[in-house]
Symmetry: C2
Subunit: 247 residues, 2 copies
């Protein structure tokens, strides 16, 4: 994984001064800085009166999470995938934070749910995350990596274990319930499952890592919209570009 | 369009008594009734203590709309389609009611938005509608019909005109704005558009009719889930079946 992120800002002549962009486009400016956890300071840095200088989508998303934090549902978003029948598929999932200091979005899910087969079939997804208080929408398109107990990467298995213990005991118990979407044959007699809090992830527990490649940000209060797109540079850096577009 | 809807309830032996289902399955009961506007009375009728007797998804949806009506965002849902690049696409849209007394969900959109080309390419979609107060989720899979000004069906054009006049003047003005997602070249000088309130739909205004074929209903408070599926009968009726499944 690279340790730097290069941000490229396309601002139609209104950008910061900086190194010329790879394309030589004079309306494109580039700067690089060490990858870091984007916290409050970063958010403030980008709480732009001139939105056109926005460096990336992550500070915007962290700011939205912060300003909507009093609403439980502010960590819920809709994840679209492509169903095995070729039709779109869409459901609400819970944001479980970023994967350490990367841009990857963590989602916990049940390995027995339909979305696992769907993602194996087509690993692209689009998150639609609407913040009901600040009227901001993030449409995040990217690739999804499935990390279940059979994963051969020890590092990824560690991430899965960490995600398991970061969940509440109540959340963990869901993975002991009967397989989702199969006929309910319980006749209302819900079994009481028991789980040792120190026990590691059960087989059904699965971590999804969503790696954003494009973000479409819309602010309905300021009536502004930005498209953030990424590409991998020859040096292995992930290069982000942003453009202000009509809402 | 048919004037009756047949509801088929699969209730694992706990259904109402009724005619035997087409499959001869004893766990399936069928009843038919004239298609009607489902209002408060209907909702009450289906405010089941025994959820297994739910006849269809529409009363559940109307009840959710009613109990979340004090929240402006309760009429917002996420519509997933398949992008021209074969990837999922997902955005927030506004519920504009049902098409008269049918099950078809109305959505207004801009003909110049990317979703129009996407729907022309693949006319399937999935709505994910999460109600933040009642903790209910409806995943509605179906087909989307595009009704723009060039539509050859006079009846559909009337629906489009009706949807236009049902929108606020502020909403209508959005369709006079520059094309969405094109580079913003306004330099912050937003033009003030004028619109005669009696003027009919402008070219960019488009009505989408979403015809549900399957509904996956999840209630996170009662921890219950129902799958409603439909098929067209030989007589041209739309037949709905429901099954209680594990959440």
């Amino acid at each position: 994984m690279c340790c730097h992120v290069i941000y490229v800002i396309r601002t139609a002549g209104r950008g910061r001064t900086g190194a010329r962009g790879p394309s030589g486009d004079t309306s494109t400016t580039v700067f690089s800085r060490p990858k870091q956890k984007l916290g409050e300071k970063e958010i403030e840095e980008h709480s732009f009166s001139g939105m056109a200088t926005a460096a990336s989508w992550k500070p915007l998303l962290l700011r939205a999470l912060d300003s909507n934090a009093h609403l439980k549902h502010s960590t819920f978003f809709q994840l679209a995938t492509i169903g095995s029948n070729g039709r779109p598929s869409n459901r609400t999932v819970v944001f479980r934070g970023f994967q350490e200091d990367t841009n990857e979005i963590q989602i916990n899910t049940d390995r027995r749910s339909a979305k696992i087969e769907e993602i194996k079939h087509c690993h692209f997804g689009e998150i639609c995350w609407y913040f009901t208080e600040s009227w901001e929408q993030f449409r995040i398109n990217g690739k999804i990596d499935i990390i279940d107990g059979a994963n051969s990467d020890a590092c990824k298995l560690q991430h899965r274990e960490k995600a398991w213990f970061a969940s509440s005991l109540k959340s963990r118990l869901q993975y002991l319930a009967p397989a989702p979407r199969l006929p309910d044959i319980s006749n209302g007699s819900g079994e009481e499952n028991q789980l040792d809090p120190s026990e590691g992830p059960v087989e059904a527990f699965c971590l999804l890592l969503f790696d954003p490649e494009q973000v479409d940000y819309l602010n309905l209060k300021s009536n502004e919209r930005f498209i953030f797109t990424s590409r991998s540079s020859e040096q292995g850096f992930k290069v982000w570009m942003s453009e202000k577009v009509n809402p």
